[in-house]
Amino acid sequence: MAMLSGAQILIESLVREGAEAVFGYPGGVTLPIYDVLYSHPLRHVLVRHEQNAAFAAQGYARATGKAGVCMATSGPGATNLTTGLVDALMDSIPVVAITGQVPQALIGRDAFQEADTFGISRSATKHNYLVKDIGELSQTVHEAFHIAVSGRPGPVLVDVTKDVLLSNADYSDEQEMEPLRGYRLTDDPDPEAIERAVEFLWRAERPYIYAGGGVISSSASAELVRFSELLEAPLAHTVMGLGAMPTEHPNFISMLGMHGSYAANMGVTECDALIGLGVRFDDRVTGRLDKFAPGAKVLHVDIDPAEINKNRRADLGLVGDAKPVLRLLNERLAETRTTLGRERREARLAWMEHVRAMKRDHPYLYEESAEEIKPQALMRKLDQISGGEAIVTVDVGQHQMWAAQHLRFNHPRLWQSSSGLGAMGFGLPAAMGAKFACPDKTVIAIVGDGGFMMSLPELGTIAANRLPVKIVVMNNNTLGMVRQWQQLFYDKRYSEVDVASFPDASLLAAAFGIAGGSVTDPADLDDALAHAFDEPGPYLLNVQVTPEECVYPMVPSGGAVNEMILQPEPEAAEAVAGD
């Protein structure tokens, strides 16, 4: 036992829980914490805006599966974190946020930089705490990490009053941690439920696997691949699921949903058994719900009981962690393969062939150009560079969808996208977090010209830490995705989407002391990319692409997924050419 200040206990508790880096920004009430950090080995990364501390913590968490840690001061610091926390909540990413709060004696008196962080973060977190007693600090940090990473992961916020940070108490690493009475983790499904699921699976003639982020949270990639192989069933991923099954796997079809491939969406439409694994039947996946997998019976596996039957009624719901559930299923599938599994195998193989043929016949289409860099062509180039091995973070918009369509991922935890919240400004700070987590991996941030400007100040963090992330701005001079909707659904009345006054990338990079450049001519693209990736340090590459290009296929909002717009209307294509 040693006598420590609250600030010291906080930091020691973070270290005890395995924190390797804290992304944060200091302020008045967190001064005691920063005074401890001054001489403490725990790494603190000074970001340039608290929102990016939360995004960077997510970048770390998405790359490792461990909780990312961010820190902010009271009031504006805490409110700046919220977007990143809601984002982590939507995508089920483990984050622990530490915020300072004004001294207890001042709470409720509209003190300087007081905000009701506990109240504000209620709906932005999986759980949150306000610590007013130093005796509870260590235990609270422990609970926060446990809650963040276990079950369905998510963000947890710990708000600590300044007087707690300044007071002293005994601290020891080995403390009895009380159990959380209201927080029960799901057990594995019982053998009977597994048996029913196995029967369900073998009864299918056209089984189709729809797998999402839950599989990645659960580190169940190997089990997922084996499951698909045993069942001999095609598999589509949600945006969150990309990389769980390697893109090159013969059973992998593509991403499904609003900008999913023709084959992925037709597969889901035609299947007779839909197996949802760690997914939540999000509206951007299902489109019009009653037309989604209309002829299919549904088996839904999720760790969160509240997801089963939320959007689509499951004929069979299995509550549990994807990894043990898939293991149990695989075991029984392997055992029954030559018995139960033989009955409908012919039909299943024909189905697999049919879906594969759709995939072959309907690749993601785009027109090549010698005059302009096509955004899809840029993604293909980046894919070649990555070879399915780089960590790729994206922002939100057209570039995000093109990247999802065209890049390969050989492993889980390589692809990072703000998927549920769709928060612009995510890509760049997430890449920072990922690079801190995985210094040996190539980290590429593919961002739009709009979203890049939202995260611009982080060039400062990247420069200060010489963080060798490669920032590729897919510059279409417009808020492309909004423009696309205006083009297709608002009669081309382009309203407030012109962000053409993009700064000169090499000057901008130079101003921050990092390398950078721009490329416009398709003939120069290879060289520009080679240059960017050969540079040992960070690089900002601005790639000027065709402005008027739409992401296809597209399921219009609220439409049925099999009613995709596959290609531009001829008339629209002319308009593109005429511009």
């Binding site: 506990f118 209620r122 759980h127 705490y129 009475r181 009981p305 509240a306 039957n309 939320k310």
Partner: protein, 175 residues
């Protein structure tokens, strides 16, 4: 429709806010909400009556259940649970009608808990329906003011079953 929900929650700061938040963020109106400690003072039981669509009922219970401070959430809407409510009614009644009023109060097994020259204060408990009937009746005597506690509910004990050690959880489970 009105959904009746009973919750066993940890008696911790923020627990009420979280539960209420699940309801309010969906735009459900909370008709009533009562909360107080159980025999175990670290736990509380909440009874909530809220206007929830038929589709939303099951999901709401699950989403409340997943809150870290919630130990158990039960939908008692269709159950035979004992439901009780307390009401305090101040009634301004003329001298000559008081005896008749007192007889009515008696019938409802309500009590006069305060009397002044102009008004009586009456306390009554019972099912919400019974209290509604009482209130309607009293209104015919004169202007009233009232405070209602909102419903409290307790699942009926299972037959042939002794109290379990975790009595607070038992209070929520259906018999």
């Amino acid at each position: 429709m009105q959904q009746l929900i009973s919750l066993l929650v940890e008696n911790k700061p923020g627990a009420l806010m979280r539960v209420a938040g699940v309801l309010t963020s969906r735009g459900y109106n909370i008709e009533s909400l009562t909360v107080a400690k159980t025999v175990d003072p670290t736990l509380s039981i909440m009874t909530i009556v809220a206007e929830v669509g038929e589709d939303g009922r099951d999901l709401l219970i699950k989403q409340i259940s997943r809150l870290v401070n919630v130990i158990k959430a039960v939908d008692l809407t269709d159950s035979r649970a004992v439901r009780r409510e307390l009401v305090l009614i101040k009634i301004y009644v003329e001298e000559e009608r008081r005896p008749a009023l007192l007889t009515e109060v008696e019938i409802f097994r309500a009590r006069v808990v305060d009397a002044s020259p102009k008004a009586y204060t009456i306390e009554a408990t019972g099912s919400p329906d019974k209290l509604n009937a009482l209130i309607a009746l009293l209104r015919s005597y004169g202007p009233i003011e009232m405070v209602r506690s909102g419903a409290m509910a307790m699942a009926r004990a299972k037959q042939n079953k002794l109290p379990v050690p975790s009595y607070t959880e038992a209070a929520l489970s259906e018999g």
